[in-house]
Structure formats: C-alpha cells, structure tokens
Symmetry: C3
Subunit: 264 residues, 3 copies
C-alpha cells in the first residue's frame, strides 16, 4: 500500500472492464509468505458470490518466474502464479480445473519482466470478467504446485497431529483442526490440545464471559479451531509461531486405545 503496485493492478483491470467491482482482501502478506496468502484466501473466498474472480500475487518481483495459471473452482475463478497460493482451494473444491495461461492476447504490452501483477494477472482477471473462457487462455494442466495439505495427521492411540497455520493480528492462534476431525460430540466427550508444553482443555463458544482459564479453544470464523486468550495475545502467552506442532487428544480415542491394550 505504500507503493503504486496495487493501484496499478486496479487501473489495469478497470481499463479493460470499467464496470468491474474490485475488492481488496489484503496487501499485507509478508514477502514470499505463500502459506499466509493461501490461508487468507481459503478463509475468505466462500464469502464472495459465484462468478467472483480472485487475483492473488505474492511478492510481485519474485512470483513472475512462475507460470501464470487460472483455476475454475466452485463457481469462481482464481488467477495468479503457479506457486501454491491456490493450494488450499484446490484441496477443498473437487471440481477444480487448472489452466496454464499461454495466450498473451490480453497481457498489457509491453509486458514487463518485473510486474506481472499489473501486466499479466490483472488483465487476465479483467478478461475473465468480460466473459472470456479459461480455455481460450491456455491448456488444462494437472500438476499445479501444491503446498503441504492442511489435513491433520492421524497418529497412533487415536491422537491427531496438527499445526499452527496462522496467527492473526489479535494473536489468536489458528490451528488446522476443523469440525471434520472434531465434531461437537467428541468435544463434549472430552478433548485437549497440547502446544509448546501447555495444555488447553477448555472449549468455548464465545470470546466474552468469565473464565479462570488463561487459554481456551474456540471455532474461528474461517472454520478452524483457534487457541485464544481473553483480551490478550495467545501467541505471546504461548511464545508460538506459525508452523508450531499441536497434539489433539480425544478422551474417546484414549479410552478405545486402553481397551485395545487390555485386549492385547
């Protein structure tokens, strides 16, 4: 936001389709933090309606060496470099189709070597918004770059291995556990998280309300379990950073394992 880069991309879009509605998601992704960008996109894309075209570029300088791709998935389009940024969307959307853009008809000319956001990705998005089909832009591919999956690992004794996938500006620690692994029924039967040597065993519905616990877990707005601290930064309390491992123990899982051992 402290340079002309974002404004230039919007100018390039509006120059092709002056009736396009351009909405900013975030321009504060740290340089080259593709996983952070991928998480933010995952958290937000479903809030937008069918036909939305998402443009994502991380580090305009470096990203330009990747092949440009368009993804059609879940009634929306995604435009950007093939660096894994759309990886989590691909994990979610079973109807996803990926195209390698080789047709430069819509590129801004002369096409710079350093600012593909303005010269390649924005114009592709604008072209799609005017009804151009991804097939007109290039062939389908089946080997897009993928990030490590967000699915937790199933460990022995019924435990689940997860990780911190994001820390938001409030210091809330977002894990990769979803209701798929952890339906309410299992939580009611008892579950606890182990992170950085600390145990979080309180699961709550809201931030507000009295509690003696310094840390508790709740379902975040992106559908992932979050570790939070009331009016404080959970990340600071835990000295946690993105990528840290989290162990999820279900009492149900432990009980089954014990029974299994007795049999053994």
């Amino acid at each position: 936001l402290n340079d002309y880069f974002v404004g230039a991309m919007k100018g390039a879009i509006l120059d092709i389709n002056s009736s396009a509605r351009v909405v900013d998601i975030t321009h504060e992704i740290p340089p080259q933090a593709i996983e952070v960008a991928a998480f933010n996109l995952l958290a937000v894309y479903k809030t937008f309606g069918a036909g939305t075209i998402h443009v994502a570029v991380v580090d305009p300088g470096v990203g330009s060496a990747r092949r440009p791709i368009v993804i059609s998935a879940g009634g929306q389009f995604f435009v950007g470099p093939d660096n894994g940024i759309f990886s989590y969307v691909l994990d979610r959307e079973s109807d996803a189709r990926v195209y390698h853009v080789t047709n430069d008809l819509y590129f801004l000319k002369p096409t710079s070597a350093t600012f593909h956001g303005r010269d390649v990705f924005a114009p592709i998005a604008a072209a799609l918004s005017t009804g151009v089909s991804p097939r007109e832009l290039g062939d389908g591919i089946d080997d897009p770059v993928r990030l490590k999956s967000l699915a937790p690992e199933r460990l022995k004794h019924g435990k689940l291995g997860g990780r911190l996938i994001h820390i938001d500006r409030f210091g809330n620690c977002i894990t990769n556990f979803t209701r798929n692994e952890l339906p309410d029924k299992l939580i009611r039967q008892g579950a606890r998280l182990n992170i950085k040597g600390k145990v979080v065993s309180e699961f709550r519905e809201f931030f507000a309300g009295e509690s003696k616990a310094r840390l508790f877990a709740l379902w975040g707005s992106a559908g992932f379990l979050e570790i939070v601290a009331p009016n404080r930064s959970a990340a600071k309390l835990l000295k946690a950073k993105r990528g840290d491992k989290i162990l999820l123990e279900l009492r149900y899982g432990i009980r089954v394992v014990s029974a299994h051992r007795a049999v053994g």
Copy 2:
C-alpha cells in the same frame, strides 16, 4: 488490513447487493478503542450523502457479545454492536432512532460466534441497502450504550473544562471545543488554552505562515479546536495523550468574574 476480515465483510455485502458502493473509512482503530472509532465516525459521517449506511465494528472478536443495533439518524443508517460506537452521532442527531436487531433472517448462516462483522453487521447493512426497513429487523430501544459526552464542562469563573479527544497521525491534538462554546467573537476578545502546564494563546486560520509561537490553535476539519505545531507534532511537544484535560479561559469570562467580585 493484514488479515482477511475486511475483505470478508465486503464479500458478504456484495453477495447480497452486488451494486452496493463500499467505502473504507479506517481499519486502523486500535483494538477496543471505542472512543477513537466514535470520533472518526463523527468526523466523517456528514460528508457522505443521505441514504449512506455506516458499518462500524471495533475488535470483531470482543464486540460480538453486544446486542446488534441499527440507528436511523439524519437520513443515514448506522449498523454495529451496542458498545457506544455511535454515541457521538446520537448526541448530534435529534431524530435518531435505535433498533435492537433480533431478526436473523439476513444473517450469514451458519452464524459464527467470533466474526459478527461478516455474519451479522455486513448482511444487515446490505439488507438495509436493498430497502429493508429497520423496523423489520427488530424493536426500537431507548437505552443504547452511551460514551461520556463530548460537551465541555462549564466551570466557575466562566472557564470551560475540555479534554483531548483525538491525536491524529500528524500529532495534531483535537479538543472537544466547538464553535458553540467558542464563537469567533469570543476568540477576538481573547481566549487561551491551558494544557499540561503550557499556555496556547494564538488562534489561527491556517497551518501555513510565519509565527514565533511553537503551538497555536485552529479549527480542524471535524469542527473541533485543534492544538497544532507548524511542521511538528504538537502531541510530542506537549507530551500529550488522548484524555488529557484542557482548560479554556475567556477574557470575557474573567472580566465578568472580576466585576462580580468587586460587587461582592
């Protein structure tokens, strides 16, 4: 801006009303600084035309415990949590009516416990923009949360007690004095401000121009008297912070008091 929160709210609005015009005021209100948000809203709402719908949320996590309200005032609507954020608008607009939103028809479902900005407030705003009446959303209430009034206190000897209500990015110190308390005629007769042991007695029309004074007062764009320093931060010079007390002495007031004493 460094997370997906704002983008998600816009997505939720545009998904309901794709022709809505969404304008950002600011997303840099410090967490839970309701007074700062209330001031910024007060300073800007009149610049927008009739029919504008203002959505204001401070700290999406914490605000969600408050009841959601809609205010109809001065030909505009205001949507947000009942935490005092619209308090200064209520002070200004005598026709204001406040509604407690209990009808969840327009909420995003499933409605998260942690992100009412996206799931509750943005959809309410979008519904209003399509012509839904506040009365359809809930009953009128007469006990919204109110912040301490912005009106200065009338002290004895004709003095006025005020406070710093905002410090802007240039370090200008915005007081709660308006032309109501301080018409030009009184300034011409002589007035001075006491703040943090320093006296400000120069009142000016512009920032620019030569002056020997390190600090002077002028009418800011939000209609409040500001203490400023040419090309410097008045806040730093004064070591001032939001909430600091300011005493306003009018020569007129002092003269009257003296006369009164003579009579006594």
Copy 3:
C-alpha cells in the same frame, strides 16, 4: 488510513457523483514527501484509461496554502495543490494545460482552512467527472511549481549523472535512467553503474535465476532502471537513500573518449 481523511474525500466525491469509481493509489506517502508522491503518480497514471481523474494531496494540513490546480494532460485530469506533485507528468505530456481553480462553486461549504482534500480537491474531481470543463473552474496558467527534472545530466567523457528517485518496499533502488538514455544496444556494448563506491555491471531481464552478483540492474515496471539484490534489500546493501548520486559509464562513451584523447 488510520484517520478519517481518506474516507472523507471519498464521501465528498460520491456525494456529488454517486456513480464515480474511486481507486486508491497510496496513502502512505511520508508527510511532505512531494517527490515520492510525484514518482508514484508518474509510475501509475498511464495504467489508467482515458478520462481518469487523479487526485493527489500531500500532507492535507500543509498543502492547503498552495493554489489549487487542475491539469488536463494525455487524456486525463489531475487535481491537487500547486506544489510540484504533478511535475513529472508535466515533463512527459506535451499537451498538458494547467488551470488555477478560482471558481469555488463546487467547493464543500463551509470550506475548512485545514482539509482542502475533502473540501476543495475531491469536489473539483467529482465536478470534472460529471462533465464540468477545467475552463469553467479557472484560468490557464503557465507557471506551475516544478520539481527538479528526472532527466539525467550529461557529463563529460560520455558519462551520465543520475540519482536514486525512489526506494520501494522491497528495497529496490529506482534510478532516473530510462531506455531513452540507455537503449538495449548500449547495454549490450557494456555499461556500468557507480553508486556509493560500488560498481554494478550486470544487467538482467528477471529477478529470478542464479547469479554470483550480489547486485544487478534491471528495468523496473515504471520504466526506470532499478538496482536490485535477489531476495534482499539493495538499499540496505548499499546503505542507499533517495537522492543518492549514480554515475553511468557506457563503454561506448569511454571508447569515444579514449579516441578523442588520442587525437588530442
């Protein structure tokens, strides 16, 4: 962005022309850094289509003492204070005409002394967007404030004297050399940059790719030669700051000079 200033300007525009498309370029220009603003505008304006109206204000407090101007140039309009902010556009666009706005018909009333962005420049831009002609706003002038030209100096022995005109958020150092002074043919014949006692002699097309050089030069997206470092801040490596001098030596120039000396 952490105050209401930008939102207020958009409100003022939309109140006059509710169908205007408002696009942010940047609001992070350091206070009074007119050259930085001028560079960002130069880098981006051509990406927007004909009929675009650019509004630029640096430091809303201080800028207000300058006369308000409108520039018609290259099929676009530019609105702001006469402080040099449009200087580089004037250097580029030979058809530019500058008008001093004296007609206050479209100003927001009462017009504040401190926020001309909202009360003067935004309304002027909105008026232009509804078809008002610059001639209706004031007379043409031929003495707008100009910044030092971006053209490099021609030194003896065929050398060129340039300077750093911008350092972007990645630490890339943008010079004032363009393809006009440095066509590809000359680069292929050999050229090198001297900056802060260091020599940069590698010229590349892309950021990516292996190299032993810590620093190299490439054409940036704004059309200027940049000194960059792969995945690092060239500015930090060079301890460079905006305004630093750069010497460009062409082998062609040197060869000619040698010949000349031999003749001498």
